[in-house]
């Protein structure tokens, strides 16, 4: 028995859950709206079966749908993916610190740079798929990514070095000799 279109698209969602939710949350700004966004798009897709390379098509549909929905409410402000997908409310202090830094760094990028970084890093798309999603040439997408990563590197480098040093102070490296001593004693 062949699965219905709905079952096919449900399986598609489960296969690409991370890519879809990360991008949808960055587009909408919160989980509830992201779920509505994904549901609307997938229900629209249910009129047909899942094509061979559906991910960029669905991602682009998410983008277009978000632009339709949120551009009106945000007025003349330019639409771009936000850095809201980073969860900076986790319990672990070090993890929270890192999340806050990453979120701040992402929010300082230009809209296009941030969108490309989200699509590439968090949704795991190739440059060709990113370009299809954003409806721009592959070279443009690669250029935005390169500049975005350069800026992120500049902003995050000191933070990473500080945090690594902090971790090094808290957990001193034990050598193999110490292990042998412990075993021997």
């Amino acid at each position: 028995m062949t699965p219905t279109h709905g079952e096919q698209w449900a399986a598609f969602y489960q296969m690409h859950r991370r890519a879809l939710t990360a991008y949808a949350i960055s587009l909408s700004g919160n989980e509830a709206d992201a779920a509505d966004l994904i549901q609307d798009v997938l229900l629209e897709m249910c009129k047909r079966s899942v094509p061979s390379s559906a991910l960029p098509f669905v991602m682009r549909s998410l983008r277009n749908r978000a632009i339709d929905l949120y551009r009106r409410s945000r007025g003349a402000a330019s639409f771009a993916a936000s850095a809201s997908l980073v969860d900076d409310a986790c319990a672990d202090l070090a993890e929270r610190e890192r999340a806050i830094r990453v979120r701040e760094a992402l929010s300082r990028l230009s809209g296009e740079q941030r969108e490309v970084v989200v699509l590439k890093v968090y949704s795991g798309l190739t440059f060709r798929e990113v370009a299809e999603t954003m409806n721009c040439p592959i070279g443009t997408a690669a250029s935005h990514y390169s500049r975005g990563m350069k800026r992120l590197s500049e902003m995050l480098m000191p933070v990473v070095m500080d945090m690594n040093a902090e971790v090094g102070r808290r957990t001193p490296v034990r050598s193999g000799m110490e292990d042998e001593d412990v075993v021997g004693s």
Binding site: G6, Q14, A32, L152
Partner: protein
């Protein structure tokens, strides 16, 4: 941290917000059911609440057909039997032509089909 790859790895390591299990389950249920309503299952009663897709009771369909047939029969009856004229009654007048001639000739006209002409100029 000298390359994009290292930065990307560091970015990937931060926790991301995600949908709750409950919301995700509802999303999947809606997607699965969305097709059930539009695909081959649409003929089953009760799946859709759209009034245009609701089944029509037989007695209602029979009454509608009878009313339609009666209306068609009335319209199709011959106009004479219906009391309506088939051809407009001619209204004949006679005018002298030409108006300023010494010996004008009477000419008969049928003005039954004439309509008033509006110039749009108000006096």
């Amino acid at each position: 941290m000298s390359s994009d790859h290292e930065v990307a790895c560091w970015l990937e390591s931060v926790p991301l917000r995600s949908l709750t299990h409950e919301r995700e389950r509802r999303l999947l249920d809606a997607v699965r059911a969305g097709v059930a309503a539009t695909q081959q299952d649409s003929s089953r009663a009760g799946l859709s609440s759209s009034w245009w897709q609701a089944p029509i009771p037989l007695w209602k369909a029979a009454i509608a057909c009878a009313a339609l047939a009666a209306a068609a029969a009335i319209v199709a009856r011959r106009p004479e039997e219906n009391g309506r004229p088939t051809v407009p009654t001619p209204i004949r007048i006679q005018i002298e032509e030409p108006l300023v001639a010494q010996r004008p000739v009477l000419r008969e006209l049928d003005i039954s089909q004439w309509r008033p002409v509006f110039t749009g100029v108000k006096e």
